[in-house]
Amino acid sequence: MNSLIRLLAGLCLLLAAQGAAGPAGAADLAPLVRMLGAGGFDGTERAVAGMAEAGEPAAVPVLEALLAGDLHVRKPEGDVVVARRQGAEMALTDPLSGASLGTAAPAVVDKIRINNSLRRSIRAAIGSLTLMSPDPRIRLNAAHAVFKSRDAAALETLDTALGRETDASVKQAMAEARASVILASASAPEEQKLAAIDTLGERGDREVLSLLTGLSRDAAAPAALKQRAASVVTDIEQRMLFWDALQNLWYGLSLGSVLLLAAIGLAVTFGVMGVINMAHGEMVMLGAYSTFVVQEVFRAYAPQAFDLSLLVALPVAFAVAAGVGLAIEWTVIRKLYGRPLETLLATWGISLALQQAVRSIFGPNNREVGAPSWMSGAFELGGLSITYGRLWIVVFSLAVFALLVVALRRTWFGLTIRAVTQNRPMAAAMGMRTPRVDAMAFALGSGVAGLAGVALSQIDNVSPNLGQAYIIDSFMVVVFGGVGNIWGTLVGALALGTVNKLLEPYAGAVLGKIFVLVLIILFIQRRPRGLFALRGRAVEA
């Protein structure tokens, strides 16, 4: 979407430029455009540099098309055209005028290849060419691009643009870009560079840190510059220390929410009902595959509503997992109540069978589950960088938890579950159909696991092995939190996640995980019933 807007804006710019400078600008560019398609990466690189130097905004849409991979060389003429797929054919347009050149078979055009260093040059060129754009958003992007490219050739345009700029935030970005360019330039006087360091110091984020750390370690730089840069670096690093701690805490919370999601269904089947369900992970997996199927349907029939696919997947995943859970309860677990070892073996077998069934139906390969646009990307909060996907998962896991608590504490259904699990004979004597309650409770736990699968499909592989990765962690969380206490699961999951993430920077991922396991073993020895032990008669039952 964004690139489309930029492309359109670029086109407007092109028209405006043509109005002002006449067709001469486009004519000057024509040989450069032709050069783009010749001489491999080096030839393209030279042509891009030439376009940046020519300072002709008409080149912007050409560069955008090159970046998007739409520029092709037409055989046998050898001219450069924009070619986009249109059914089985390619629709050709002239890159400068935008005039249609008809269609051609895909074999007739050769895509102009770009690599990373070319991508960098193209972005830098677009940046320096769009500094004067009428749209403040494009100017802001241009300033960021120049900040990164540090291209001395852009300095003159940058100064003119700064003088004209009215938008405060764009002006600041341009000033920072200018400082970055000046620091990189060999010819700028020392006092200008010192001022540039101060400008950058005020911004004080990681990118600035990167620039200044490089400078402070550069042996060739003058001593005064190095000193100033080093002191700013120390300042920024000190500020970062605080944010880093917060960032780790956020990662811990986020990992904790994933653990919570994986364990929350188990908290019902194992925690409340006492069934050791080794197939719990496979319920999560089924939820993830339901998401995949729902997304496939959306891709086929309603691609424009793709962002809603996850919301639709939620009830589907719940229904599928709950249905399978119900079937398992009816056919297997019902016959094994009170025999934990046999239950463990039987459910382990079911988990293998479910895995192989999914493998036979969907194949052993990972399935692609797309992220809706509202779950992609990240935003900055102070010095924290928070990704939307993780944020939504935290929110979702807490919401599922809250719903489950309400369902168990505040509804008649929850009341019957609690009654049956606390004192089965008494509940039966009161006229409750206990087998039916067992089945419904097991279905509820499985369904919640299916919900977890929808969220986990966003961060993990959707493969038949998805569930195995979570089964151990889930049991760990439930046992640590205290069997039978759903609040214990919440606290246990968040505590384990946080401890894991706080240890990771010091111990590494492998040792960190081992430490957490050792901690849990020690803890369970001290408190065998977990964080929140149930008290009273329920314990003995």
């Binding site: 690599n115 550069d218 990662y251 073996l345 382990w348 194949g363 990240a378 990704t387 993990d460 995980k513």
Partner: protein, 432 residues
């Protein structure tokens, strides 16, 4: 754990008998040459290995259309070691003793190869191993058709240093033997090129690691020291998808910090949305996007065999293609499938590869290959940005590890040694 293993063994036993029943049990048993396929069809490794089983079945079917080998039809014997390392050795023994196969094509992980190695040496069988690995091994009975580190890792690092001017390196891998050995080799290599210790960060993660937030943040931080930084990834299997998703989410673009991977191919990318990954790199000896008539024909054949237009081809499939054709040629040259004769005949055998050239079996039982570097594209394919001008010979004993740099391997008579020490002039160094 004991209990779990027993259950697993039982379950995979059941899967095995199913697989044997499913394998073609033709009536003309005595007129065929049996070929063993030892790839996991269930368990964690099924994701990668099932494809190779299918590729082998296709190659065997093709060969039979051409009239088989030595006038006899080939017959595939498929077994399922179920991603269970000890089971690999059991199945290998069954293939060699009960089914009496002429050659076995199989294994993916190094640990599975190590598990079957003594069996092949004891029973004098032939194993063709199609996956890139850490080197440090050369057996008379094994043919390594995947890349050794000098055919993948070192050219990739050279590319980044030359073309992307990388000065700071993150070596990130899954915690097991392949990444650890490869990273040791790379670390020595980088230091020999003048990279300082503080510019190398090494990070290991457990198998199937799925929470990459802090590690990706660490990489980001490491890359903010004013020098161009790249990540060299030996992250294995399923852990790659969440790793790349996290890179995309935290906005690490290939233009800022490129990631070059040694275990990510077309098949792995099929499970990811590759838009945020455009420009990240992989080093292989084959890419599906290679423009060559032999490759186009192979892709067409594969799609029609598997009856799915969307299926992709990858590097280990090419390794099996080369290995299988080498075996066929060696058997025809020797006039028999007897292992000793084939081992003698196969050295020097040259067959076309899928990248428009020829690969040859060398005396150290490794093959010659070109090295390609590709950048990930939006469609999940790789755009080839670099190709070595000639072929690279697989180096089994790395020159960058202190205790293996003096070793060479040559299985031809009269040397016939997999670990000859050129300093002491004796056979029998490391890994005997």
């Amino acid at each position: 754990m004991f209990l779990k293993d027993r259950v697993l063994a039982f379950a995979s036993g059941a899967a095995l008998s199913a697989a044997i029943l499913a394998a073609p049990m033709a009536a003309q048993a005595q007129e065929t040459i049996k070929v063993g396929i030892l790839h996991s069809l269930s368990g964690t490794m099924a994701i990668s290995e099932t494809t190779l089983k299918d590729a082998m079945l296709m190659l065997i079917e093709e060969q039979n259309k051409k009239g088989g080998v030595l006038g006899k039809k080939l017959e595939a014997v498929v077994v399922d070691p179920a991603s269970n390392w000890p089971l690999f050795a059991e199945k290998a023994r069954d293939l060699l003793t009960k089914d009496k196969v002429a050659a076995v094509f199989g294994c993916w992980t190094s640990v599975s190869r190590k598990s079957v190695l003594p069996v092949f040496e004891e029973m004098n069988g032939l194993l063709f191993y199609p996956v890139q690995y850490e080197g440090e091994e050369s057996s008379r009975n094994v043919f390594y058709t995947g890349a050794a580190p000098n055919q993948q890792a070192i050219p990739a690092v050279d590319y980044l240093a030359e073309k992307e001017k990388v000065q700071r390196w993150v070596l990130a891998g899954t915690d097991y033997v392949y990444p650890r050995t490869t990273n040791k080799i790379l670390e020595t290599y980088l230091k020999s090129k003048g990279v300082k210790a503080e510019d190398i960060m090494i990070n290991y993660t457990p198998f199937g690691h799925s929470d990459w937030q802090s590690i990706v943040a660490d990489i980001k931080k490491f890359g903010m020291a004013g020098k161009k930084t790249a990540v060299v990834s030996t992250i294995n299997g399923d852990a790659n998808v969440p790793f790349y998703k996290e890179l995309g989410n935290q906005g690490i673009k290939a233009e800022d910090i490129p990631v070059v991977a040694f275990s990510v191919g077309e098949e792995e990318l099929a499970g990811i949305d590759t838009k945020p990954l455009v420009g990240h790199l992989a080093a292989w000896n084959y890419f599906m996007s290679v423009e060559d008539p032999v490759n186009s024909a192979f892709i067409k054949q594969w799609k029609s065999f598997i009856k799915d237009e969307k299926r992709v081809t990858n590097d280990p499939m090419e390794a099996h293609y080369i290995g299988f054709n080498m075996w066929v040629k060696a058997v025809e040259k020797a006039g028999t499938t007897a292992p000793d004769a084939v081992i003698d005949a196969i050295v020097g055998v040259t067959v076309p590869n899928l990248t428009g050239g020829y690969s040859a079996m060398m005396p150290n039982h490794h093959i010659t290959k070109p090295v390609l570097i590709g950048e990930i594209q939006e469609d999940g394919q790789f755009e080839i940005v670099s190709k070595t001008p000639g072929l690279v010979v697989g180096d089994e004993w790395s020159d960058f590890l202190p205790d293996s740099k003096d070793l060479i391997s040559d299985w031809r008579a009269p040397m016939g040694c997999g670990n000859f020490n050129v300093k002491t002039g004796k056979c029998g160094g490391k890994g005997a």
